[in-house]
Subunit: 337 residues, 2 copies
């Protein structure tokens, strides 16, 4: 690996000049610039970005911590963030927390130890209190898909209350009145918010949320299968189900299948997320879409802006709206189709 010093020797100039020729071309004479270019070429010189970072105190690197990379949910957000950052010459260091609080804590710290200018955190395990403490302690952090009122301007999030309301509104508009729901774990604010919006919207239609038709899941398919079985075996009838994740909808569909129930003829189902899975289920799943890629990209840009103390933080969209994607899993009771 050639160093700047070797380039300087070869070009017959000082290292400072090489540095300038490369980074501030307007500050150097055309002739010198040519000599430098030439030397750079022949040596195949490439600046050591770590050394550049140390000297200039800017690593042009953003960190991100998520539970895991293997799921479409996290993968899509990371993809959005990475692409957005790459466009502005930034790199992403990704670390997974292993779905544990301790993992989140250490990943967060460790990314700063690597001189990330800012870190994007998708916290799942940290209690709100501790999370607030971290946001306070590490001002160069932004929360992805999470809303912490105290740190409003460092959060990129989906309006989950509205997302839940959208699901209810869709089902009600299709004529459903007896509606069951399988939520995420209540320790997740997303789950609570979606349920809250769902309940409020039902209330507006004069439908009380029925506790007997409300089950707490964990966003995964297996548990949703169990919950749905229990719901189906219970005494209460219902014509529609809202699942707070597409994966849970998949589990619920499986339960229906085993009970010989047809979707949407016997029971309608609406999911949440709109990951690829949704359109591969049968029937194709009507769901509430989260713009995950956009959320990831916004988190990347916000992290960059925060790191640079850029004034246009305000210009970055931080609150996203869900949207229902209508497919084939909800029956219209009004028309019967």
């Amino acid at each position: 690996m050639a160093t700047i010093a070797q380039v300087a020797v070869k070009a017959g100039v000082s290292t400072a000049t090489v540095s300038r020729a490369l980074n501030k071309p307007e500050m150097v004479d055309a002739k010198t610039k040519a000599k430098v270019q030439e030397a750079v070429q022949s040596l195949g010189y490439r600046p050591n970005q770590v050394a550049q970072g140390l000297a200039s105190r800017s690593s042009r690197t953003i960190g991100v911590v998520v539970n895991q990379f293997g799921s479409a949910y996290y993968g899509t957000m990371i993809d959005g963030a990475e692409r957005a950052l790459r466009k502005i010459g930034y790199k992403l260091i990704a670390e997974s927390s292993g779905e544990a609080a301790e993992g989140e804590r250490s990943a967060w710290q460790s990314l700063f130890d690597r001189q990330c200018e800012a870190v994007i955190v998708h916290s799942d395990a940290l209690a709100e209190e501790e999370l607030t403490g971290f946001m306070e302690k590490h001002p160069m952090s932004v929360l992805m898909n999470r809303h912490l009122p105290d740190y409003e301007d460092r959060c990129v999030y989906l309006d989950n209350i509205r997302g839940g309301a959208l699901a209810a509104a869709h089902l009600v508009a299709k004529g459903h009145r007896k509606i069951a729901t399988i939520t995420g774990p209540f320790s997740y604010h997303e789950a609570r918010d979606r349920l809250k919006g769902f309940e409020q919207q039902l209330a507006e239609a004069g439908i009380p949320l029925d506790p007997d038709l409300t089950a707490e899941g964990n966003f995964k398919d297996d548990m949703a299968f169990e919950r749905m079985m229990a719901l189906l075996n219970g005494p209460k009838e219902f014509t529609a189900l809202f699942c707070q994740s597409d994966e849970m909808a998949a589990g619920a569909i499986e339960a229906c299948r085993q009970k010989g129930l047809r979707i949407p003829d016997d029971i309608s189902i609406i999911g949440f997320d709109d990951v690829d899975l949704a359109r591969h289920l049968s029937p194709k799943l009507t769901t509430v879409r989260q713009p995950l890629r956009e959320i990831g990209a916004a988190a990347g840009l916000l992290a960059h802006a925060v790191a640079r103390k850029s004034p246009d933080i305000e210009g970055i969209c931080r609150s996203f709206e869900a949207e229902v994607i209508e497919r084939a899993s909800v029956l219209d009771l009004n028309t019967g189709s």
Copy 2:
């Protein structure tokens, strides 16, 4: 941010001693160590890992370039690599190529510019020739899920020939003789290898590969849907289909559904990959499993070993075997179940 110099002053020792106390505790007196610990605590000192890297010429960072992070295929491998590396104190810098050859080239280079000790590449767009050139030029690189005979010991891969053979064997064992297949793009070695193994295995059973029943897809569902429609509308009959990815199987299933064909009663389908999608399809998809997480982990470990010029490169499993996961999409013609 406290620096090592401040710690040194506070502890009344030299920076060298602080460095030793932290990195080679056995080399320093217990009393001094205590003083240092104390200073570290009170200042909240954390070593700047970038500076450490520059000084010690080891960044403890591995890079990885993939097409994108959003799909389960890449996500799962990255997850495997990241976890394996985290365990040994290494970090992963991830960069996506944007599914273009130029993206792969620049990502590869740029990760080395960031002083990654080694980089893991999942190449999709680079021609074999150029890929070979890069492996030659960058000895600290390993290929993930790709086999380049010239660089045997820097590749972690699935035996795709055997994978294809497994699919054929399964179908033949179930009594199928008229078998169609939708492959990946032939520009991908995976696609060619799987087809080769598939053809060889069929040949062993005395079944020639029928060109009219062989269609080239692109691993995606949409194109598989088109191909399957064409196959179904064609003059040749067949009882089974092998798709080289689960996503394509999903597309093919959709085509069957639109034609009113039942799976597996009218037509059997076997996929490849065994991503989450497979068990969510209906019927649940019988498929050839790739151990993606293990492959990713092995790639991470191999990259580390290569970077460290470790002798136990040989000890890392580099060749993985596929395995068929039997679910419900293949009918046994022998028993009719």
